[in-house]
């Protein structure tokens, strides 16, 4: 909120917020274990972030919000012994939720061509859609105008569904330990509030993120050496976790082989052999229930 705005306008916005809080604050689900978390707020009439605030319960929080009309409200995903201590080392970290941030502006959706545009400040080129860098001069800090439409949000939602599926099937978390919230603009936050993850350290959390993103997959884990420098896949489609995922995607790829794609990886008679293998597998796959 800029200071140059007329006082009338900021009063009007504040009144709208006040009306909203009095109407909707009871609908907002409060976080668990409130007294262990740090809250922070930004206000209309004071600059900066006001931190190190603690509430003993939801009633106290709602009363505070209704009275002070903040324009932003935050709470820590970490739990502290002394959440109101001013220095991090005095707070005494007890644990934290596991939070995933799924943001659509990192995903190249087809609709971006309809509502996004870019302009290169270096060479002046411009265009519609999503580019990593200026296609003419290669400059990477292009100016972007972006919009988030329903298609974008549904792409983010698909990613959320995949993540929640993985958290429940692979990690065995129950659906009441996994909470999905709209992040307010471009995507979703997925919160895991569970004793299993609470005390995990930084390395352990990075391991879980790597697992979800498939980072660090090594072919040696799913194969054994075969004849002629080949690798034999030992993972099966029905195996748990990435074993199954790897096997299913290899199988999908084989099933999709035709003369042209087989020629990319083999030569001579082997092309024919591969295509015939794919045909045979396709026939057998009719009855398999793990294929879609």
């Amino acid at each position: 909120m800029s200071t140059r705005k007329s006082p009338d306008l900021s009063e009007w916005v504040k009144a709208a917020f006040r009306a909203y809080y009095s109407r909707a604050s009871s609908l907002v689900e409060e976080p668990t274990e409130m007294p262990r978390r740090e809250f922070a707020f930004m206000f209309f009439d004071r600059p900066g972030m006001h931190r190190h605030i603690v509430f003993k319960d939801a009633t106290e929080l709602r009363r505070f919000v209704a009275r002070s009309i903040p324009r932003h409200a935050y709470y820590s995903s970490a739990y502290y012994q002394y959440p109101d201590a001013e220095r991090m080392d005095e707070k005494v970290w007890l644990g934290a939720d596991l939070v995933f941030d799924i943001d659509v502006d990192h995903i190249d959706t087809p609709c971006k061509a309809l509502h996004d545009s870019w302009q290169c400040p270096k060479c002046g080129a411009s265009g519609r859609g999503f580019v990593e860098a200026c296609p003419r001069c290669g400059y990477e800090n292009v100016k972007r105008k972006t919009w988030v439409c329903e298609t974008c949000i549904s792409v983010a939602r698909d990613e959320v569904i995949k993540l929640v599926e993985m958290l429940t099937s692979d990690f065995g978390l129950s659906s009441n330990e996994v909470h999905v919230v709209f992040s307010g603009h471009r995507g979703f936050h997925v919160h895991v509030e569970s004793e299993v993850v609470k005390e995990l350290g930084q390395d352990a959390r990075r391991e879980i993120a790597d697992y979800v993103r498939g980072i660090g997959l090594e072919p040696e884990a799913f194969t054994v050496p075969g004849p002629y420098r080949t690798l034999r896949l030992v993972a099966k489609p029905e195996d748990p976790g990435w074993y199954g995922r790897v096997a299913r995607s290899v199988l999908d790829w084989i099933l999709s082989l035709d003369e042209r794609s087989a020629a990319l990886i083999a030569r001579g008679r082997r092309v024919r052999t591969l295509v015939r293998l794919a045909e045979r597998l396709r026939e057998r796959a009719q009855s398999a229930d793990w294929l879609e």
């Binding site: 990477e140 350290g201 352990a204 790597d210 498939g214 660090g216």
Partner: protein
């Protein structure tokens, strides 16, 4: 799975110092700091010192003293000596050695006892599982939280993504479970040794600590950054990840924030000046001297929190997509640099 009763012998208490039973037994023996000067105390101290010296010399000490009580008490005595010595690196070295000792003992135990020791000692959740996934067979299931918190490294079969994961459970074999116990022991012992030292220590103990300190510093001198380096140019000793970022930076490519941080903190740590580091970024398309200076000075610990930052360790470089290599025996880019200076080169291969 602790339905099967497991009988602990007194010798087990000497092998596994982290068990609640061991701590209870030590309490009943009631040895106070002052007692360490008695004749029984001297024997305990001698054995404690042996264990520390073995750690300093990187020797695996799996000896068990004939007098089991002396063996049991030598662990808390060694911890006491290290708390008084107040040297973090030495504490780490001792913790590593004790971890290896424990995993060596555990590898020889029947499975029931192995499971008892790790569930009772570390609170792990474990289930029996005799099955195989892929071409590997397993003995147990551990919960994923216990797994990711106690693996020795985050690559190969120790990386969660390369393991079957079934509704929160990770299959492991008995050898792997003992190896995880090594990590947990290491953390336990290190934590113990870093506790603040007690007061009222007899002078005779002071002299033992001084002797340990001097042995340790002799050993450390041989490990420091050598005065004569074995590479022609210092750049030849940079790890491949840092060299790749450096080349991109000098070529004027726009490199991500994380890569800039890794490069700047690496160069500062090996002794480059703030100005030398700023020069590296001069070719960046969005270079602004004032901003670059502010950020490099921050990383150098001249601003803000006054912390001098170190680059990311290899595991984190990999997760950030900045590492595509496997460097033999290296867990941190700075470790690569020091090893390369000392040996002339470090073996590494590119992961495809």
């Amino acid at each position: 799975m602790s339905e099967t009763p497991v009988l602990l012998e007194r010798l087990d208490l000497a092998k596994y110092p982290f068990l609640p039973e061991t701590q209870e037994y030590i309490r009943t023996l009631g040895l106070a700091v002052e007692d360490l000067c008695s004749s029984a105390g001297t024997a305990v101290l001698r054995r404690a010192r042996e264990r520390i010296e073995a750690a300093i010399e990187r020797r695996l000490d799996t000896r068990l003293d004939d007098d089991v009580d002396i063996e049991i008490l030598s662990f808390p005595a060694a911890v006491l000596l290290l708390r008084l010595a107040g040297d973090k690196l030495l504490a780490r070295r001792f913790a590593v050695a004790e971890g290896k000792r424990v995993s060596r003992f555990l590898a020889q135990e029947p499975q029931e006892k192995l499971v008892y020791v790790v569930t009772r000692g570390f609170g792990w959740k474990i289930r029996k599982f005799n099955g195989h996934v892929g071409n590997l067979s397993y003995d147990f299931l551990v919960s994923f939280g216990d797994f990711v918190s106690n693996v020795p490294e985050y690559r190969g079969l120790w990386k969660l993504v390369n393991r079957p994961l079934m509704r929160g459970w990770v299959p492991v074999n008995a050898y792997e479970l003992a190896r995880m116990a090594e990590e947990a022991t290491k953390r336990y012992v290190e934590g113990k040794c870093l506790e603040p030292p007690p007061e009222g220590v007899p002078p005779s103990i002071e002299s033992i600590i001084n002797e340990i300190r001097s042995e340790w510093s002799k050993r450390m001198e041989r490990l420091g950054i050598p005065k004569v380096s074995k590479v022609k140019r210092p750049e030849d000793a940079y790890p491949p990840c840092i060299r790749a970022i450096l080349e991109d930076a000098l070529a004027g490519k726009n490199i991500p924030h994380s890569a800039r941080f890794a490069l700047a903190s690496f160069l500062l740590q090996i002794g480059k000046s703030v100005d030398e580091v700023i020069d590296v970024f001069r070719a960046a398309p969005d270079f602004r001297e004032d901003i670059a200076r502010y950020q490099v000075e921050h990383i150098a610990g001249l601003r803000g929190s006054r912390t001098k930052y170190t680059p990311f360790k290899c595991d984190n470089m990999r997760s950030l997509g900045l590492c595509k290599w496997r460097c033999k025996g290296v867990k941190h880019p700075l470790q690569f640099y020091r090893l390369a200076l000392r040996r002339g080169k470090v073996e590494y291969e590119e992961i495809t």
